[in-house]
Symmetry: C2
DNA sequence: TCTTATACCGGTATTTGTATCACGGTCGGG
DNA sequence: CCCGACCGTGATACAAATACCGGTATAAGA
């Protein structure tokens, strides 16, 4: 095994990340935001649903720009729970 | 073809991006920064040399945190000199 | 000189991201 | 009621990111 298969908390972080994007999207449609960001709607959907937990930096940058979000805030919002470790399930 | 094979300007952007990271690293060693960011030194080297033009968002976020960089500034620094008109209408 | 540390480079393996294709659900008009 | 349009979704295909291995080159120190 050469590539780390994405730890569970990384996937959880991806879900939270997607939830943030979906929330920021508000009432706008997926296709609209995806088009504005220059990515396919399917890709946006995967990111929002957490099925793409670690998207590329520039993809997120484009989405953040289309959604008027701050990359630092986005990262901080997802990095915070990592600091406190995953809550006891 | 299902995946766009990375356009030339994307690779150029990756090179500029890597140069930024390398500059921010200063005199610190690759292994030190890579360890601080939680990525392998090879990955950091590939990103710095532009051989990994579109790294994952969280990888960059971790590196930016380790280097005390702002993600927004980082994205802006790479988007400004080239300005992709493909995104944003 | 020899050893150590750092950085670079090639290849390899595995996982993942992204895009295209095709389907079902919902809504409004005819 | 039927149909087309829009949206979200699942499956599939390919390119790329990440990690590990070995080897190489340069500079500093013993």
């Amino acid at each position: 095994m050469v590539r780390t298969p994405l730890t569970p908390w990384e996937r959880e972080r991806g879900e939270r990340f997607g939830a943030l994007l979906r929330d920021a999207r508000g009432g706008r449609s997926m296709v609209e935001v995806a088009a504005a960001a220059g990515v396919s709607a399917e890709t946006l959907r995967k990111i929002e649903t957490g099925r793409a937990p670690t998207p590329s930096f520039f993809t997120i940058a484009a989405l953040a720009f289309a959604l008027d979000l701050s990359l630092d805030e986005l990262a901080a919002a997802c990095a915070l729970p990592d600091d406190g470790q995953a809550l006891s399930a």
